[in-house]
């Protein structure tokens, strides 16, 4: 109620929470931020969306951040290793890979095995980025050696190529398939259980608003937060 939110406002100092969040969280975190502000009058949530690794660099260089929500445990680990977090990171969402094909599935893709077809144009994430790492796990499990034409720097770039019909098939997250609307069709596959990616979040050591940071992390993990995430296609961790 009102008392609770008033208390939160007291503990959030200047009333401003700065959240560094992976670009793929832009839409859902923007909604979460609005909800959080509504629930905590007087608190303002400021987002800095960008590539997870760039954000980690910025935090390493003393950026004024309170919370870091990464798209990959690896980048979060960089911040943790540098002593940048105020608490253990916790996973707040996970994302599952799906096969994405252009509307109408012109190449007739049915499963991971088609990714070994040299004639089909295939896009995957590069091994260095989370979706690439997850894809590798999936292919290993399926025993398929994919023959990609391109290893993209992030999942949105992969999605763009599917949308434009430049490739016949790709592996992207379910959230991405969902956000693309009717332009992209998603095809599930059994090995997807192995190809999940966790999103960790943590309050930061140098946070100017430690209380606010903690409150925001709590909020993301709350039922209300999880509901918003689920609506966008994320799975609970």
């Amino acid at each position: 109620g009102a008392a609770e939110s008033g208390g939160a406002a007291d503990t959030t100092g200047d009333g401003r929470v700065t959240v560094f969040a992976a670009a793929s969280l832009t839409e859902v975190f923007t909604r979460l931020g609005e909800d959080f502000e509504a629930a905590h009058p007087g608190v303002e949530v400021v987002f800095n969306f960008g590539g997870s690794s760039a954000l980690a660099q910025q935090i390493g260089q003393g950026a004024p951040a309170d919370v870091f929500a990464s798209a990959s445990p690896a980048t979060m680990a960089q911040v943790v290793d540098a002593g940048g977090t105020a608490a253990e990171p916790v996973a707040f969402a996970r994302n599952r890979l799906e096969i994405a094909v252009p509307a109408g599935n012109p190449a007739g893709i049915t499963g991971l095995a088609d990714f070994a077809d040299a004639d089909a144009k295939i896009a995957l994430c590069a091994g260095q980025v989370p979706c690439g790492a997850a894809a590798k796990r999936a292919f290993d499990a399926a025993g398929v050696t994919p023959r990609p034409d391109t290893l993209e720097q992030d999942v949105k770039a992969v999605l763009t190529k599917v949308r434009l019909g430049e490739v016949d098939a790709a592996l992207v997250y379910r959230t991405d398939v969902r956000s693309a609307g009717g332009e992209v069709e998603g095809i599930g596959f059994p090995e997807a259980d192995l190809a999940v990616n966790d999103y960790p979040i943590a309050p930061l050591a140098k946070a100017g608003n430690a209380a606010g940071a903690r409150a925001f992390v709590e909020y993301v993990r709350s039922d209300r937060g999880q509901a918003v995430l689920a609506e966008a296609g994320f799975e609970a961790p």
């Binding site: 670009a23 793929s24 832009t26 839409e27 400021v46 987002f47 800095n48 969306f49 960008g50 760039a54 660099q57 910025q58 260089q61 003393g62 950026a63 004024p64 949105k156 763009t160 949308r163 956000s179």
Partner: protein
């Protein structure tokens, strides 16, 4: 007046050499057809609603402001630098000149990281700025200006230097014999004579600053109203709504083309 119009008409009747016109038209097509592609695919129906959202206006305003400030900074520092490289007797000029191109080659994101190394709160210079003056540049609008200037300045410097090298130094000599210091000669004689080169450099610089993304987002972050310029907005839009990204790009394009078309000829011809 009539005579000029007349002259134009007459000149146009002279044959333009195919060997120049053909590649020129091809080049123009190469640059413009993708733009046409963009325009064709842009979601015109939803354009107005997307366009007049407050955040687009804010990002556009910020973009124009920062790019213009960065250009001013580049002019103030870059034109003298170009002069030094073209005219000064500096040892190792060749290497200096090549070093000036560094921010050009550096992937912008790395450029942003380099700026953080130097001007960040824990950077080589930034830690003192912070400790002594309490000034922190990253993640501020000033940071955006700096990042854009860093990336865009080489364009100005190299263009102006090229123009300076092509200029006839004997006019500077004539100015010197009239008692003009090198600074006066530069300001009143050299600069006006290389104006087209300076304008070209300024255009490149401004346009590059306007389109700058990697260094900005790395060094200045992405805070709406403060550091979110149009390219950053486009980037975020690409994450969520690719159509919106195209609309934003088209807006950015139209505004910049409009500004350039309006200013450039006026600049070059100057007051008659």
């Amino acid at each position: 007046m009539t005579s000029i119009a007349h002259r134009k008409r007459r000149r146009a009747t002279g044959r333009l050499p195919v060997v120049l016109v053909l590649p020129a038209v091809l080049g123009l097509a190469f640059l413009l057809v993708p733009l046409v592609g963009l325009l064709v695919r842009a979601p015109w129906g939803t354009l107005p609603s997307r366009l007049f959202s407050a955040s687009v206006g804010e990002a556009l305003r910020l973009s124009l402001l920062c790019a213009s400030l960065a250009t001013v900074l580049c002019l103030v520092l870059g034109v003298p630098l170009a002069w030094l490289l073209a005219r000064g007797d500096v040892p190792g000029r060749g290497v200096l000149r090549a070093l000036v191109t560094v921010p050009l080659v550096l992937p912008p994101v790395v450029g942003g990281v380099a700026l953080l190394f130097v001007l960040g709160r824990r950077g080589l210079v930034g830690q003192y700025l912070d400790a002594w003056f309490g000034v922190s540049l990253p993640f501020t609008t000033a940071g955006v200006v700096l990042a854009e200037a860093f990336v865009a300045m080489p364009f100005l410097v190299i263009s102006v230097e090229g123009a300076l090298r092509a200029a006839d130094p004997r006019y500077e000599e004539a100015a010197a014999t009239l008692g003009a210091s090198r600074w006066l000669a530069f300001r009143r004689v050299t600069l006006p004579s290389i104006l087209p080169g300076v304008v070209a450099g300024t255009v490149l610089c401004w346009a590059r600053a306007l389109g700058e993304f990697g260094a900005t987002i790395t060094f200045a972050g992405n805070f709406p109203g403060e550091t979110t310029t149009m390219p950053l907005a486009v980037y975020l839009a690409l994450e969520t709504d690719p159509d919106a990204a195209i609309v934003l790009s088209v807006v950015l394009l139209l505004v910049s083309v409009g500004v350039l078309a309006a200013l450039r000829d006026r600049w070059i011809s100057g007051p008659s």
